[in-house]
Symmetry: C2
Subunit: 205 residues, 2 copies
């Protein structure tokens, strides 16, 4: 298994370094299960597919609680043929991919409904890219169906889908998109942008 | 043709709104050729494939000249089956995709060598996703070969390739990755992160 993300956290404030460093404390509970490396553009997080989005949620919510306008970008990947295979990436649970698309949509929807709240509102937009199979749009459309029926769906945008709401169900919806759609043994990527405390009007608010 | 990007510009400073708004002046020369719409997460830029990266370069260089640490994320897409087809996206030049991979690599390399400098140093990392064909890794590896031989190649990272140098050749390399690799009639996406003036040490500097 090959699974991980390149994360970048952006804080629109003069004291961005302090906010970023203190937010890193929030992911301490996950560190034993992850390989983490940082350079000047992003932080590499490698680990099991189930922990990728909870790690991002904890980091982003901690930064958002500073009250500053904060944003996060993540390039998330699994199964890339050019990546090394690492034991640390082994899934913690069996994949639900063997189930048909309708069952996976319902299972993903239940997980979002059951997700605990964090008290922090966020907006995200993301794109899911299952690489290789000719029928890749079936998985994308299945994922969009699941999202449209979920309480955190905000709207379709060009090239991505936008979610908004409490960070708990929003990041659970992202995690479900990651875990339930696209063959778990194939190459799948997500391009994600998150935002909180923006001074710009949210058109859907 | 369906072509465009969702751009987000991040300025790590208290006066980020002023810096972003003044940077937008830099893309005025391109506005007649593009459809541009902004919300609280990103700015949609729709237009011909040749203008996508020059527009990003002008916007990002203008923001970087503020001297603040600035970053940009872009989700770039062409040929997505779910997107509307718009005349404004018509390519300005015929695609070089009919040429074999070796010829395309050489043509792309020449364009980077010929790109004018801007005087602004930037670092970027990006991933190219050609969706649909089973042999999609051939185009990705061809693109990586071209980048590795170019003067702006910095290093391979997990899930992406990192470039660094003057914004002129760096954004030209991105544009060539976009224009020369992946079938021009197919669905291709790029996930891009750019950074300038970071206070963190650049491991490769």
């Amino acid at each position: 298994m090959k699974c991980g993300a390149q994360l970048s956290l952006y804080v629109m404030a003069d004291d961005f370094v302090r906010v970023i460093l203190s937010s890193l404390d929030a992911i301490a509970p996950y560190r034993d299960h992850l390989r983490i490396e940082t350079d000047d553009i992003s932080t590499l997080v490698v680990g099991p597919p189930e922990l990728i989005f909870p790690t991002m949620r904890e980091l982003f919510v901690a930064a958002a609680r500073s009250g500053h306008h904060v944003a996060m970008h993540a390039t998330i990947s699994r199964g890339c043929p050019g990546e090394p295979d690492m034991d640390i990436c082994e899934p913690e649970q069996p994949s639900a991919f063997d189930e048909d698309l309708e069952k996976r949509k319902r299972r993903a929807a239940r997980a979002v409904t059951d997700a605990p709240s964090t008290g922090q509102r966020v907006a995200v937009q993301f794109s899911l890219y299952p690489l290789g199979p000719a029928d890749y749009m079936d998985e994308i459309y299945g994922c969009i169906d699941f999202l449209k029926a979920s309480p955190v769906f905000d709207r379709a945008k060009n090239y991505c889908t936008r979610l908004a709401g409490d960070a708990g169900p929003v990041f659970e919806a992202l995690s479900q998109a990651w875990l339930s759609f696209g063959d778990p043994n194939a190459h799948v990527a997500i391009d994600l942008t998150a935002s909180a405390n923006s001074p710009s009007p949210d058109a859907a608010a």
